[in-house]
């Protein structure tokens, strides 16, 4: 009657509602296996070839024409071969005799068109403004390392293993994509040693999409885990710039959305990134390369897109390509503003406000820019327009009230705007939502403002009566008179 330890454990796990994970003979993952076996195999993406000639060279293991993922359909005929065979067919070579780490290079002529750009644009474009926006000292084209990983899970935990690393870089007149595949967990220290020695030497600049919070700290964690020296490199993460430029247009700013919405790259048959872990686990189970082949393609396509994305960002920032839409203009304006390049900023704010899709925000930010620079006529013009065009907007009215009270010294106009602002804020405070309390506070402030204006009006009236001055002249020297000179104090 005695049961084995394992039977007991299995029964226990079931009893607490924990489904023991599927056994290898279970149906789990079977679907993926079927579909992959059907269209997988050693793909030779010969389509859309731009005609690069094979290149000689020791480490060139695979010549590829089209950027992966850009319209490459896997060739038919699953190999289902044993592990090493399948990887060989995909152009991988073992890094060490134990076969724990495999490596391949994909090479693309710099003239290859990827989306709306060529890789060659990277060498041609002006990267200095982009460097500034991305927070690095410089972006030397030949030392850029476009880096992306595929991992077994999410987060930064010690059990999340990056099993595939890609580094794209310019080598001569080619963009080379170097891929390192962890065919067996055992090989990770070797992989990391090779990867960091080959690509992350001092002076290199890592370019990623969301790498600052994911790929790069994860790489450092793996190095720490295996007691290997950490690597230090300048790091430009494109996600923040992309968010600033396109969040509104794209909604969700992930690389796939940026590719489709901005870069003009449309992947067909691409593997969704979230399926990568299951593919890798399936590979570990049976060593069939066709499980992971779509992951290789996906990963290589990612780093190629990074190169093109950097070009697009750089061209926008360098003014080589005009911005499209208020959102892009505003993003640029705010960068220039922060760098105190006020002429450029002014032009971009104007571009934003003049853009057909310009909304409240574009005009409002432009008005604040004018305000900071003491360009009152422009600012007041915009505020007045906004006050009319947006019947619920309060801040432009507050600005107008402040302006007329302190600068123009027109207490009557100040009172009029303050009353209107108070009425709007009070109306908003009556709406029962999270903002209500804030609007109540705004309304209270306005109440004080109005009281003060009224007091000043009354005082002015007394002064004018006793001095015999005609009513209507400014009652007192505007408090803000001294600040009429432009103040060049941009925020941020």
């Amino acid at each position: 009657m005695a049961r084995s330890l394992l039977e007991r454990l299995a029964a226990l796990e079931r009893s607490v509602g924990r489904r023991p994970e599927a056994t290898p003979d279970g149906a789990d993952g079977g679907d993926a296996a079927g579909s992959q076996a059907a269209d997988g195999g050693a793909a030779t993406p010969g389509e859309a070839a731009t005609g690069t000639a094979p290149r000689p060279g020791g480490d060139i293991v695979r010549e590829s024409a089209a950027p992966p993922g850009a319209g490459t359909a896997p060739a038919a005929g699953a190999t289902g071969a044993a592990s090493s065979e399948g990887l060989w067919a995909l152009g991988f070579r073992p890094v060490d005799p134990s076969g724990g780490v495999w490596y391949r290079t994909l090479r693309y002529d710099l003239l290859t068109v990827h989306g709306r750009r060529q890789f060659a644009d990277l060498a041609r474009c002006d990267l200095s403004a982009a460097a500034r926006a991305l927070g690095v000292d410089e972006l030397p084209a030949e030392r850029l390392r476009f880096y992306d990983t595929e991992t077994t899970g999410l987060g930064q935990g010690a059990g999340n293993v990056p099993f595939l690393h890609a580094v794209a870089r310019i080598e001569g007149d080619e963009l080379a994509v170097h891929q390192y595949f962890l065919a067996d967990h055992t090989g990770e220290p070797d992989l990391l040693t090779a990867l960091t020695a080959d690509h992350f030497a001092p002076g290199s600049v890592v370019v990623t999409f969301n790498g600052k919070s994911f790929d790069w700290p994860l790489l450092q964690a793996r190095l720490a885990l295996w007691r290997l020296p950490r690597v230090a490199a300048a790091h430009a993460d494109l996600i923040h710039a992309s968010r600033r430029l396109w969040r509104r247009r794209l909604g969700r700013v992930a690389l796939a959305e940026v590719e489709a919405g901005v870069l003009g790259i449309h992947r067909s048959g691409d593997l969704p990134g979230r399926e990568a872990p299951a593919r890798y686990f399936a590979w570990l189970e049976d060593g069939r390369a066709d499980w992971v082949e779509p992951v290789f393609e996906h990963n290589a396509a990612d780093v190629c897109s990074l190169a093109v994305l950097l070009v697009v960002v750089a061209d926008l920032l360098a003014g080589r390509e005009p911005a499209r839409g208020a959102e892009e203009w505003l993003a640029l304006a705010r960068w220039y503003d922060a760098w105190q390049a006020y002429d450029l900023a002014a032009r971009c704010y104007t571009g934003a406000a003049a853009s057909p899709d310009a909304g409240y925000e574009a005009r409002w930010l432009k008005s604040l820019f004018h305000k900071r620079h003491g360009e009152w006529a422009e600012a007041v013009g915009i505020w007045t327009q906004l006050a009319e065009a947006y019947p619920h907007a309060v801040p432009p009215l507050v600005e107008l009230a402040k302006h007329y009270e302190h600068r123009a010294g027109d207490l009557e106009a100040a009172a009029r705007w303050a009353w209107e602002a108070w009425a709007r804020a009070s109306a908003l405070a009556r709406v029962a939502d999270e903002e209500a309390a804030r609007w109540r506070e705004v309304a209270d402030h306005l109440r004080h403002r109005i009281d003060r204006i009224l007091r000043r009006q009354a005082a002015a009236a007394r002064v004018s009566r006793s001095s015999g001055a005609s009513p209507g002249t400014p009652a007192a020297a505007p408090a803000g008179a001294g600040s009429r000179t432009p103040r060049a104090q941009p925020r941020g």
Binding site: M1, A2, R3, L5, L6, R8, L9, A10, A11, L12, E13, S15, V16, G17, R18, P20, E21, A22, T23, P24, S98, G99, G100, T152, G153, L154, G155, Q156, G157, A158, G159, V161, D184, H185, T186, Q220, A221, R222, A224, L225, P277, A278, F281, L284, E285
Partner: protein
């Protein structure tokens, strides 16, 4: 009226003294001092002087020397004996001498760690060079975490955080783990039972990671008094540990009063309710301005007693009386703790949640309502009253249960007895396997590596078979799943998730507490009355699937009490042995199916039954380890009815005796009895662990069946009742011979040598 005067008054009141079974006075004790050792860093000596500490208590000096000699050390001394210096001194001394050194402090709860950091900061504030200590818990802001990981000399956290946030991310804590010199575990006695089993496994993971980074930290543990400090420390840490257990701290005069409520119906053994007595005593103490804490067993009782006190004390004191228990939200608890420290709060009713060293200052009186299950626990509770100086009172009010009656009649057991051993069972298969997964996530396993147990290799294979792990080419096992295993493992509750309690009285629903799933079956079924801060809420809907119970405030004068129907099945007999001439003890695996059936509505104050309702909830299943005894029915010439009376009575008392013997809560062991067991039609009595996979309690009952039966026999025989009463053999036995039947059954079951 101060406490001393009040105690005098009580002593002169015959009605009071009639029910006092024992009044013990422990005279004040003076301190034993030793010099601060020479090797202690001069800055630290100066800092101690600045705080007015010129010499150490003897036990502090002893601990200091042991740690200095590199020995793992366990300090076991009473509450308020200055235990914290036992670890703060060697840790700070080491950091002053080597600023790269790091220490990790573990406290069982967040509240405790915050108190500790405050005290640590105070001491460190007197040092010329900075010693950085930080609390790292769920409330630590994200931006501060990076700095703590890099710069914190002393990281103060709790086992849950260690388990879920630090160990799985050990690569970020490189600096800590490379330089870890000390691991401090305070309140170590808390780590027993299921929680302790989890924590022992978390510490296995911690040691594994230290080994990986090449550090060999010294463990310093502190504990309340328990019988087996060395054993507990060794089980927790996996290392041999030196024990320091002679306190040199002073203590004020302490009165320990054993109060047995009067019998109201002698033949049934019915006594006045201990809760109502606590209501009377507590109200009096609070009214006299004496700070008082009462400990009760259940959350419901907390609410009941707090409500009583609130209604009985004068208006002006009403806001100074509170309830305190698990299930309150942290800031609410924090507010109460602060109130107790400031003296703002005069009376508090708590579950054992306040047994721990949460800093609530020093109270004057403690009331223990019903024996808390262990001597250690009783001492912790009474230690809450009276610290170093002044008179203090520990009042024990017995209830009618067998255990309480045994205790109140054997006060020497509590006063002089060796406190129980704290046991844990890190080999519980479920717990072990869960942590094995977490450990594999953190670092790959070599095939020959051992994780506490011999069977590590087998378990690794099992996990690899189920595709949780993958065996690499060099034979090592690697984590192979995209999930983070620690996320699905909670150290505190059973294997299931918790149910949160949502109050939808107001327009905006609000979470007011939580409870584990198994308890939810009996406390949060639809129509149940859930009490929170003395306010009754009615459960409107229990959504077990999503772990939510929706409640609404109601105005009622009753509470509810639910019943479970239980079905048992033996899965596997692990061992058996003869019990007397015609019975056998067994231990093995059981499957228990429990379904809540109905609930009773019980009126506040009078506790009368107002009616009942049905509960419609799915059956809960429990795989566990049990002990059972099976008799040959023909060996005693009883009819079915007599057998049933004897079995039920024995089950009742045996469960109490077993809990006493195993140092566990009564609720940790469940029982069942069948006159015709489905397996072979013989009378059978079961006791089983209330936790999936078992935690070693029932196995212990099997091993020590004779001593446990002897305790049970004493509980029945010593009871003053004539024919068996609810306090000894449980409620509802009509048979006038019930007591004799139970005694006969016990005698038939004990082996000859054990009889007395």
């Amino acid at each position: 009226m101060n406490l001393a005067t009040l105690l005098d008054e009580w002593r002169r009141t015959p009605e009071m003294m009639r029910n006092v079974a024992h009044w013990h006075v422990e005279p004040a004790r003076i301190a034993r001092f030793r010099a601060v050792p020479d090797w202690v860093h001069a800055d630290l000596r100066a800092a101690l002087q600045a705080r007015g500490i010129r010499q150490l208590y003897a036990h502090q000096a002893e601990a200091l020397e042991a740690v200095h000699a590199g020995r793992h050390t366990m300090v076991v001394t009473p509450t308020a004996s200055g235990k914290t210096l036992c670890y703060n001194l060697p840790v700070i001394d080491t950091i002053l001498k080597d600023p790269a050194a790091r220490a990790l402090y573990l406290f069982p709860t967040k509240a405790l760690s915050q108190d500790q950091v405050a005290e640590l900061h105070e001491l460190c504030g007197h040092l010329p060079s900075p010693v950085q200590s930080f609390t790292y818990d769920g409330d630590t802001p994200l931006h501060a975490r990076q700095r703590i990981r890099e710069a914190g000399h002393i990281v103060v956290t709790n086992p849950d955080m260690l388990h879920a946030a630090i160990l799985p991310h050990h690569t970020k804590w490189l600096r800590l783990f490379e330089n870890l010199r000390f691991i401090v575990i305070d309140e170590a006695h808390i780590y027993r039972g299921v929680f302790g089993s989890h924590v022992a496994n978390v510490l296995r993971r911690l040691r594994r990671i230290c080994r990986h980074y090449g550090s060999r930290p010294v463990f310093i543990l502190c504990s309340a008094t328990i019988a087996n400090p060395g054993e507990l420390a060794a089980e927790l840490t996996g290392e041999e540990v030196a024990v320091v257990d002679q306190s040199g701290a002073p203590q004020g005069e302490r009165h320990t009063v054993f109060y047995n409520p009067p019998l109201v119906q002698p033949e049934l053994g019915l006594r006045r309710s201990s809760l109502l007595e606590a209501r009377r005593f507590g109200t009096r103490l609070v009214r006299e301005g004496i700070s008082t804490i009462a400990f009760v067993k259940t959350r419901t009782q907390v609410e009941l007693l707090a409500t009583y006190w609130k209604s009985d004390v004068p208006e002006r004191l009403r806001d100074r009386v509170f309830g305190y228990r698990g299930g309150y939200l942290p800031n609410e608890r924090r507010r109460i703790e602060r109130g107790l420290r400031d003296g703002e709060i005069l009376g508090v009713v708590s579950t054992n949640a306040l047994e721990l060293g949460v800093d609530i200052g020093s109270l004057e009186a403690s009331i223990t309502v019903g024996y808390p299950g262990t001597i250690a626990s009783f001492r912790q509770q009474s230690g809450r009253a009276g610290r170093r100086h002044g008179v203090s009172l520990a009042l024990f009010i017995a209830n009618a249960s067998a255990i309480d009656q045994y205790m109140v009649q054997h006060p020497e057991h509590i006063l002089e007895g060796v406190p129980e051993a704290a046991r844990l069972y890190p080999e519980n298969l479920l717990i072990l396997t869960d942590h094995l997964k977490c450990a594999a996530y953190e670092l790959p396993f070599a095939p020959e590596e051992r994780f506490g147990v011999e069977t590590t290799g087998e378990l690794l294979e099992y996990l690899a078979h189920h595709r949780v792990l993958h065996q690499g080419r060099d034979g090592r096992y690697f984590w192979m799943s995209d999930a983070l295993p620690s996320h699905s493992v909670s150290l505190r509750s059973a294997a299931q998730d918790n149910v949160v309690i949502i109050d939808q009285t107001a327009a905006r629903p609000q979470v007011i507490g939580e409870t584990d799933r198994f308890s939810a079956l009996t406390t949060l079924h639809e129509e149940a009355i859930y009490l929170h801060q003395s306010r009754p809420y009615q459960v409107e809907r229990l959504d077990l699937e999503n772990g939510k119970a929706y409640v609404r405030q109601v105005d009622v004068d009753y509470y509810t009490d639910a019943e479970l129907a239980v079905r048992l099945q033996v899965l596997d007999v692990l061992a058996d042995k003869p019990a007397g001439a015609a019975a056998r003890h067994h231990t093995g695996e059981l499957m228990v199916n429990a379904v809540p059936t109905l609930f009773k509505k019980i009126k506040f104050d009078t506790h009368e039954n107002l009616g009942w309702g049905k509960i419609h909830l799915p059956e809960a299943e429990l795989h566990t380890v049990g002990y059972w005894c099976r008799w040959d029915k023909r060996s005693i010439p009883w009819d079915n009815e007599r057998w049933e009376t004897a079995l039920m009575g024995l089950a009742h008392v045996l469960r109490h005796a077993a809990a006493l013997h195993c140092m566990c809560a009564i609720g940790d062991l469940h029982w069942a009895a069948e006159v015709r067991d489905p397996l072979d039609g013989q009378p059978t009595l079961y006791l089983y662990d209330a936790y999936p996979g078992g935690v070693g309690l029932a196995e212990r009952v099997f091993r020590d069946a004779d001593p446990v039966l002897s305790i049970a026999r004493a509980m029945v025989a010593d009871c003053p009742c004539e024919a068996g009463c609810p306090s000894c053999i449980g409620p509802g036995r009509g048979d006038r011979a019930a007591k004799a039947l139970v005694l006969r059954l016990i005698d038939e079951t004990r082996t000859a040598e054990a009889s007395d």
